[in-house]
């Protein structure tokens, strides 16, 4: 009798068919992997060509770097993910940013005792440029931001806080919420802030203002000045302009690392 789909024979046949299907699935993946491997080789060649013509451009031109990074982000590629990636190896973008990361860490460590681990992007920029010396490549603020974003992976507590038209860089794990940030912005004008000023500008109650200021004191980000005329002034060393002109040599910065 010829019956379809029923009986031991049919079951066996079905199993065989499934097995073959699975096999084919693996083969499909294998095919695609082989295809990817080939395309990868081709891409590597293209990238090498690009590098031979434009590697200098990337190193010398901060604006070109921005374009490059933006395009990578748009298509879903992170050229800085690994030093072993093609981008790093062939374009040298990796070394540029990873070294910058080291310099940023050193500057932040060297100045931490002064500003509690909070520094303006501008000051960081200046200090990093000084450390790099006369003959090093130009480094833009955008470059710094990208390097810092990568440093977060180290669990360092590096954080970028938008303040006014620019950024504060936090280099120690300290919790800063919206309230703290807003007070930092307020303090920018004079480098310090008072409870009355906070109450007047932000319309907060005394207790809320006090809590924020106490937190900043505890974290070492603010200094208390009880001898100021009128009421207590809370100074933010991160915002001191006269600190900018002090020299931190590369040697000092390295020594700051235990």
């Amino acid at each position: 009798m010829h019956r379809r789909g029923v009986g031991a024979g049919a079951i066996a046949k079905k199993k065989l068919a499934e097995a073959k299907y699975k096999e084919r699935g693996t083969v499909l993946a294998e095919d695609q992997l082989a295809q990817m491997s080939k395309q990868l080789d081709m891409f590597k060649t293209n990238l090498e060509e690009f590098a031979s013509k434009h590697k200098q451009e990337i190193r010398k031109n901060p604006e070109f770097r921005v374009q490059f990074q933006d395009m990578c982000a748009t298509i879903g590629v992170d050229p800085l993910a690994s030093g072993k990636g093609f981008w790093s190896e062939m374009l040298g973008v990796g070394d540029f940013y990873y070294e910058l990361g080291v310099q940023i860490i050193e500057v932040c460590l060297a100045l931490k005792h002064r500003n509690g681990g909070l520094i303006t992007l501008e000051e960081l920029h200046q200090q990093v440029l000084k450390g790099r010396g006369k003959f090093a490549q130009d480094v833009s603020q955008d470059d710094l931001i990208r390097a810092i974003k990568k440093l977060k992976a180290l669990g360092t507590g590096f954080c970028i806080i938008p303040v006014g038209g620019t950024y504060l860089i936090q280099s120690v794990p300290a919790e800063l919420n919206m309230d703290h940030t807003v007070v930092l912005q307020l303090a920018e004008k004079n480098g310090y802030v008072t409870v009355s000023e906070i109450k007047a500008s932000l319309k907060w109650e005394t207790e809320r203002a006090r809590q924020v200021l106490e937190h900043l004191l505890k974290e070492g980000l603010a200094w208390l000045d009880l001898q100021a005329p009128g009421e207590a002034h809370y100074w933010l060393p991160a915002l001191f302009t006269d600190l900018y002109s002090q020299e931190i040599t590369a040697e000092e910065a390295r020594e700051a690392l235990p």
Binding site: A29, H54, Q126
Partner: protein, 386 residues
């Protein structure tokens, strides 16, 4: 502001352009004046400012008129500035934007940055005083002779043309670079699409793709910098590269760790390793992913993550919990200690000192006193004296 003279902005023979910067505003002393957006050019002889909106409006001062310059660093909401102190204007000065001014200095405000580099170059020119050795036409010298503009016409056209060519060349290079970059990105995007398609296949046929193939796939993703579409990690652990790296790190870090009491923060490791390498540096993610494999590979170091998120590398032989016992002794002997004080006493970094004290607190050996004066740790008498 009365030292400026109107000029065509063209450079003289023997006068070379050193640097230029867009987005510069001029202040007469502390006062804002109408010249708020211009390109500032520094030559070997002069400082020239040209209005960005109206190129006809162009003025200059001689570098020889500068007494000294100061830098005013940028702040939040404030652009970086250079303050230029000037000698009084000579009596026979050519006409300029201001007949008289009560200020003997001007300020240049760099709204589009560039102040640091400009200051450096200007200082250099001020030191080298090249204008003294490279005479230009009479009209550019303060004690002027009777024939203004006699030499000007010759060679100017040639110089202008050269500048224009150089500009075009730079522009051409940039646009060629951008074009090539765009083409490259299109190809890169194809790779991304392909990797997504493979990842989907892997997901659908769970278990039917071999270990080997997975490793291959991950290494392809690593090369391209594509995030693993399945796990969302940027390639995830398990690539050959990271295994090798982990083994290397075990070798490199043994001695430094021993010197530092058996423990180092990942930040220190990052700086140490990259400074030693000099080239072909590790990305932060490379380091983290390699360290994640240390324990699995049975290497003599391990990665540890504290509650605060701080990551450290420890020697396997290092027992942080035992260090806590000695920390307790240290704190007891001093009555109480802050992280900074403890760090100094023991000779470790403040970051790690804090972690040790926090761990001691977690284990019940220490109590905290959290005030505006800082975080201070005391022996936990509740435990010992009950």
């Amino acid at each position: 502001m009365d030292r400026f003279v109107w000029t065509s902005g063209l450079l003289e023979i023997n006068e070379t352009l050193v640097i230029q910067q867009r987005g510069v505003r001029i202040y007469d002393g502390e006062e804002k004046i109408k010249f708020d957006a211009g390109t500032l050019l520094l030559s070997t002889h002069r400082l020239i400012w040209r209005d960005q909106k109206n190129h006809e409006c162009c003025m200059a001062i001689l570098l020889s008129q500068i007494v000294f310059i100061e830098e005013q660093a940028a702040g939040i909401g404030k652009s970086g500035k250079i303050v230029v102190h000037l000698h009084p204007a000579p009596p026979n000065k050519e006409p300029g934007p201001f007949q008289s001014s009560k200020n003997s200095y001007i300020k240049l405000s760099f709204k589009e940055h560039g102040q640091i580099e400009f200051y450096r170059r200007l200082s250099e020119e001020m030191t080298q005083r090249r204008w003294e050795n490279m005479p230009v036409s009479q009209s550019l010298q303060t004690n002027r002779g009777p024939q203004p503009g006699r030499i000007r016409a010759v060679g100017i056209v040639g110089i202008e043309r050269k500048l224009e060519e150089k500009r075009k060349e730079t522009d051409k290079n940039i646009s060629e670079a951008f074009e090539d970059l765009s083409k490259l990105m299109i190809k890169a995007k194809e790779m991304v699409e392909l990797s997504k398609s493979i990842a989907n296949k892997i997901k659908d046929k769970q278990g039917d793709i071999t270990e080997d193939e997975t490793i291959r796939f991950k290494s392809y993703l690593l090369s391209m910098g594509i995030a693993n579409p399945v796990t969302r990690e940027t390639y995830g652990s398990g690539t050959q590269y990271h295994m090798q790296l982990a083994k290397q790190l075990a070798g490199i870090l043994q001695a430094p760790l021993e010197e530092r009491g058996g423990i180092m923060s990942l930040t220190e490791v990052y700086c140490l390793v990259n400074r030693a390498r000099g080239m072909e540096l590790l990305s932060p993610e490379d380091l983290v992913n390699a360290c994640k494999m240390l324990e699995a590979l049975k290497l003599p170091l391990r990665l540890r993550v504290f509650d605060s998120g701080v990551m450290v590398i420890e020697l396997q032989s290092h027992k942080e919990e035992e260090m806590v016992a000695s920390a307790l002794e240290t704190v007891s002997s001093k009555g109480s200690l802050t992280s900074e004080e403890f760090a100094k006493l023991v000779g470790m970094s403040v970051l790690l000192a804090k972690e040790r004290l926090l761990l001691a607190e977690k284990m019940g050996h220490l109590c905290r006193d959290d005030s505006v004066e800082g975080l201070r740790f005391y022996p936990n008498l509740f435990m010992t004296q009950s």
